[in-house]
Assembly symmetry: C2
Homo-oligomer: 205 residues x 2
């Protein structure tokens, strides 16, 4: 049975909230009523931050990451090594790699991976712009840091083929046992790969 | 370590989203990026529905439920029995009782329950207005439909005392085994109450 709301304004707000992924109508109602209990300023700030982001945000011309400026802080930083480009799926992945503090090159955000099931082909992604970027020169290595899924692997292979005729080293991130994981609980594919791709050990990591 | 966002606009939007209860920063980022992938109109509609609700919503003068008008549709309906008032904690509870289609009287929304731990006393709730409403006449029965918690029970007792000198019947909703529940899994307090408060059975429910 359709839930009856005592107010159309409330119903409209719940409708809008429940359009967000993972937010059902009960959660939406809870969030809307929370906002109603707060000072009006809280809702105004919340709403205006979303509208400002939507209206004013840009994508970096170089790496296609979200940015406040035409060229993002990473791409315009003089401290970064512009000869290495790390290819990632989305902005969360840029943030994840940045958090490791192990990478000092630049990024290239594809905007997804090739996924015929979802109707996403190479032309929907920033692959041509990656090829142009490499062709423009200055890039020595492209690191493919995509998810370890069928779609990620397909995309890795597609990009590898596209770049193979160019004078650039293409590498992929290592796959193996997660740090802290017990061997017995690792899946056999991961464990197998970590044995095949073993590296020489000199007594420390 | 503090997460680095590539855009201040993005960070601000994530900050605002993660102020909502149950929304962490990762979920907030996911929701904000979802909105960014949609048409700008989606975010504008979302934001304006919240602002309109905050700025324009009213509380019914009679029952204190959320309403678009000074008196809510339930309180102003001629089909409802104004001699019975069901006292509930919040608007979700009004919706829950309405959904049963078993109640045709009016409501009184307290706005919470007495909870010294959270600093909520009787004066923070719509209890005086309930007493005034009963004193004004026309109310034959007050049904207390609060949560079956310590705070709910305390509030039930407080309201009962306040109304005891007035010419009104006070009842509480039945507590017992949930419909569809197996007896062996019911907690002993609930099962005990359902035995003590057994009702005469005439062959059907």
């Amino acid at each position: 049975m359709e839930q009856q709301y005592p107010s159309e304004l409330l119903e409209k707000a719940v409708d809008e909230f429940s359009k967000l992924p993972g937010i059902g109508r009960k959660t939406a109602l809870r969030l809307v009523l929370h906002l109603l209990r707060m000072e009006p300023k809280v809702t105004h700030d919340f709403a205006s931050s979303l509208v400002r982001l939507t209206d004013e945000v840009k994508h970096c011309k170089v790496c296609h990451n979200i940015s406040d400026t035409d060229v993002c802080p990473i791409c315009s930083s003089l401290k970064r090594d512009s000869s290495i480009v790390c290819v990632v799926e989305n902005i969360q992945d840029v943030m994840a790699v940045e958090n490791t503090q192990q990478f000092h090159g630049l990024y290239h955000v594809l905007g997804g991976v090739i996924s015929p099931m979802d109707g996403i082909g190479p032309s929907d992604l920033e692959i041509e712009s990656l090829v142009s970027r490499v062709k423009a020169g200055g890039v020595v290595e492209v690191i493919l840091a995509l998810s370890s899924t069928m779609e990620g692997d397909t995309t890795n292979f597609y990009i590898y083929r596209k770049l193979s005729s160019l004078d650039v080293k293409v590498s992929v991130i290592a796959r193996g046992i997660s740090v802290g994981d017990e061997l017995q609980y690792a899946d056999e594919v991961t464990l197998g790969r970590s044995i095949v791709n073993r590296i020489q050990f000199n007594g420390k990591y």
